[in-house]
């Protein structure tokens, strides 16, 4: 059970990274044109 002392903080920190990445994405306007971004990946001339 001692392994929990390591594993739980690790899982929280990893989750925290995910949350931080999401907040960064929201703040840098990456959710402003979801449809456009989905379509842009198919453009081959950029």
């Amino acid at each position: 059970m001692n392994v929990l002392v390591v594993l739980i903080p690790i899982s929280l920190i990893l989750g925290g990274f995910g949350l931080a990445a999401f907040l960064w994405a929201v703040k840098s306007d990456q959710f402003d044109d979801a449809q456009g971004n989905a379509a842009r990946i198919l453009l081959d001339d950029e």
């Binding site: 949350l19 979801a34 456009g36």
Partner: protein
């Protein structure tokens, strides 16, 4: 870029940011774009234009942003030649479009989602048999994650509940807040006392699921708001004022009575005034519904909203701002609209039944278990289980999930839904009233088949310079031709256009002016006898298909004269009322509503505005006047009516799916409530009931995609 010191980096950063948002960024609306190819075509096509620095298409908003020293007219013609509809937007009106509230909700949702995943992870360990010290330890960690999350993420619910309670009422947020706070508080107490059950996962996932619903709801509302803003931006808010012989573009609010205003050809008159130029030809169809252009002489009164069809003219302002005819009409609209605000949305009606019922149920459970069992703590636990398990999240998602799907479905088909309850009202419609001029019909000109190539080229050359609706229609007919090179082109107000072609005098205009025997539109080249163009009003594309598919009784009410109205009625096979003034239209709608009919009004002119606002639901085309668009629930962005019946089908489907969702939520409750009342609901059961019911509701809403 290199900076000499760290402070300089800090100093240049914001300045650069401001530059990229400078007012020279132009915005356009592109209602017909729908796919990757459209983005590529427009961005590639415009990037090669002179002066364009950056070009970006936003597919979600169907909007185009351009920066660089380039004229907006050049952009408009370039995009039109690529085959897309384009409308310029006023950047100043759109300036503050960043949606702070939406972002705020999204961040709260992300935090709740993060907390839910971690708490669930710990809860799964507890459910699968962790006991004693391990269980208490896991509960404590859950508490450390869940309590701050609830305090931050659930704030929107707490605020709404508080404001409802202050007014002495109950809304959906009161039971939600109560469930979240009680679940978190009771679980903390249980954890500290080594209790077996903790509901941290329930408190956090409740917050998460409900925030999804709240975010979807916000998205639909803000889409409506930004659509309204976009439409306002289409209208010009400036006027060309002439002082000491110098023309200056000023804000409409700065124009004073007795100012001299210049009105360029083809634009709308910004204020009420008196004509100073010798003569003018005005299109009043927006104000009166009459399709024929009106010929005015010096000294005649001109009302704001009329369109100048001939050469540039000058007026002296007699009424500005709130006093103009246009504004007074808008006030009439606001008055008519206040009646509509009394409409209670389906979700609110559900909340009115749900909120008191669930409180009562929880209270009864608490009292009964307290009296019978004598254990306050156990009784409170059961009451909380009841509050959590009654699935407020499925109920909270039921309507927003469906409306969001429906609105994006309609947006892709070229319809803007502006009002939150519009779809519900549209679903109840059982009678349709149409306006004629500008809505069902548009002016068209029939080009005789035996016209020579030269004659066609001359006609196009002449028609191109005029803003008269007939000339516009003629240009549309002759699109494939190249115009003849003409000299000395002048527009004779109220008569037509004349010029010189290879030394011959050429004219396009009224029959009498050409010296012909007919009175309609004609053309004369040199001394040849005049050629007549027949000008029947044509139906807008898709009107016939739409009417045959509607399957609802319909009629036409128009401000046009009796004779053209009757011939139109024969062609289309609908009952028609001619010579209707704005008040007549309003009365007709009221009369129909008094008969118990739910009327859908479709119209574009200012003369329809009051009727649009008072009808049960209303639809206006994108080119309608600002007042008409703001009075209507749905705006058609395309120049095509074929999809009109689809709006009604989507509205009906929205209502059906919302009701189905409520039924699903109710069914879950019927199973879950007895279990909770019996005291058999564990945190695991609560979590399962909540997740499954929410996901079922969300999936059911996606069936909207299959509505055709």
């Amino acid at each position: 870029m290199t900076a000499a010191c760290p402070a300089c980096i800090g100093a240049t950063g914001p300045a650069e940011f401001a530059a990229s948002n400078a007012p020279d960024a132009m915005q356009f609306s592109l209602p017909t774009i729908h796919c990757t190819a459209c983005i590529g075509k427009i961005e590639r096509g415009l990037a090669s234009q002179n002066g364009v620095q950056s070009v970006r298409v936003n597919l979600s908003l169907k909007r185009l942003t351009i920066t660089g020293p380039v004229q907006s007219d050049a952009i408009i013609s370039a995009v039109k030649s690529l085959g897309f509809e384009i409308y310029p937007l006023d950047a100043a009106t759109l300036a503050n479009t960043t949606d702070k509230a939406g972002r705020n909700l999204l961040i709260r949702m992300a935090v709740a989602g993060f907390a839910m995943m971690n708490v669930m992870l710990l809860s799964v360990a507890v459910w699968s048999g962790a006991s004693d010290a391990t269980r208490d330890f896991f509960h404590l960690i859950s508490a450390a994650i869940a309590l701050p999350t609830v305090a931050y993420s659930a704030q929107p619910f707490f605020q709404n509940a508080l404001s409802a309670l202050r007014k002495g009422g109950l809304n959906m947020d009161v039971p939600i807040s109560l469930a979240i706070i009680l679940a978190a508080g009771m679980s903390l107490f249980e954890t500290l006392n080594g209790g077996e059950h903790a509901y941290f996962d329930a408190a956090v996932s409740l917050t998460f699921f409900l925030l999804i619903g709240r975010y979807l709801d916000h998205q639909t509302r803000s889409a409506a708001r930004s659509a309204a803003k976009e439409l306002t931006a289409l209208e010009s808010h400036t006027a060309d004022r002439i002082r000491n012989g110098v023309a200056q573009t000023v804000q409409l609010s700065e124009v004073a009575v007795d100012d001299i205003i210049a009105v360029p050809a083809g634009t709308r008159v910004p204020v009420d005034g008196v004509l100073l130029s010798e003569a003018a030809l005005m299109d009043r169809s927006f104000l009166t519904g009459e399709s024929a252009a009106v010929h005015l002489n010096q000294g005649s009164e001109i009302q704001a909203g009329e369109v100048n069809l001939a050469g540039p003219l000058q007026i002296r302002a007699t009424a500005v701002g709130e006093d103009t005819t246009l504004r007074r009409m808008a006030e009439l609209v606001e008055l008519a609209e206040s009646g509509r605000n009394g409409y209670t949305a389906l979700a609110d009606r559900a909340a009115a039944i749900y909120a008191p019922a669930v409180h009562l149920l929880a209270l009864v459970a608490f009292l009964a278990w307290w009296v019978i069992g004598g254990d306050v703590r156990h009784a409170l636990n059961i009451a909380i289980a009841v509050l959590i398990i009654t699935c407020p999240c499925a109920l909270g998602l039921a309507v927003p999930a469906v409306t969001t799907a429906a609105i994006s479905r309609l947006f892709n088909a070229g319809f803007l839904v502006k009002h939150a309850t519009a779809l519900e009202r549209l679903a109840e419609v059982n009678y349709v009233v149409f306006d004629k001029t500008g809505t069902l019909t548009k002016p068209a000109v029939h080009v005789p088949e035996n016209l020579t190539k030269t004659e066609r080229a001359v006609a196009l050359g002449l028609a191109q310079v005029s803003h008269h609706p007939m000339s516009r229609a003629l240009v549309e007919q002759l699109q494939t031709q190249s115009p003849a090179p003409l000299e000395d082109i002048t527009e004779v107000v109220g008569q037509g256009v004349q010029g010189r072609y290879l030394g011959q005098e050429v004219q396009l205009g009224r029959g009498q002016w050409l010296g012909a025997s007919f009175s309609g539109l004609g053309m004369r080249i040199g001394d040849a006898s005049p050629i007549q163009f027949e000008a029947p009003e044509t139906l807008r594309t898709g009107v016939r298909e739409a009417l045959s598919e509607l399957c609802l009784p319909a009629e036409v009410v128009t401000g046009d004269a009796t004779e053209p109205a009757q011939s139109f009625a024969k062609r289309i096979g609908l009952k028609i009322t001619a010579n209707a003034r704005p008040t007549d239209k309003l009365e007709r709608i009221s009369a129909l509503e008094a008969e118990g009919k739910r009327v859908l009004m479709v119209g574009d002119g200012l003369n329809d505005t009051a009727a649009l606002a008072s009808a049960h639901a209303s639809i206006a085309p994108a080119l309608a006047l600002e007042a008409s668009r703001s009075a209507s629930d749905v705006v058609i962005l395309k120049d095509n009516f074929t999809a009109l019946p689809m709006v009604l089908r989507v509205a009906k489907a929205t209502q059906d799916l919302s009701k189905q969702n409520f039924a699903i939520a109710a069914a879950y409750n019927m199973i879950a409530i007895p279990i909770a009342l019996a005291g058999a609901a564990t945190p695991l059961a609560a979590a399962l009931a909540m997740s499954i019911s929410s996901i079922t509701v969300l999936l059911n809403s996606q069936r909207m995609r299959s509505v055709k």
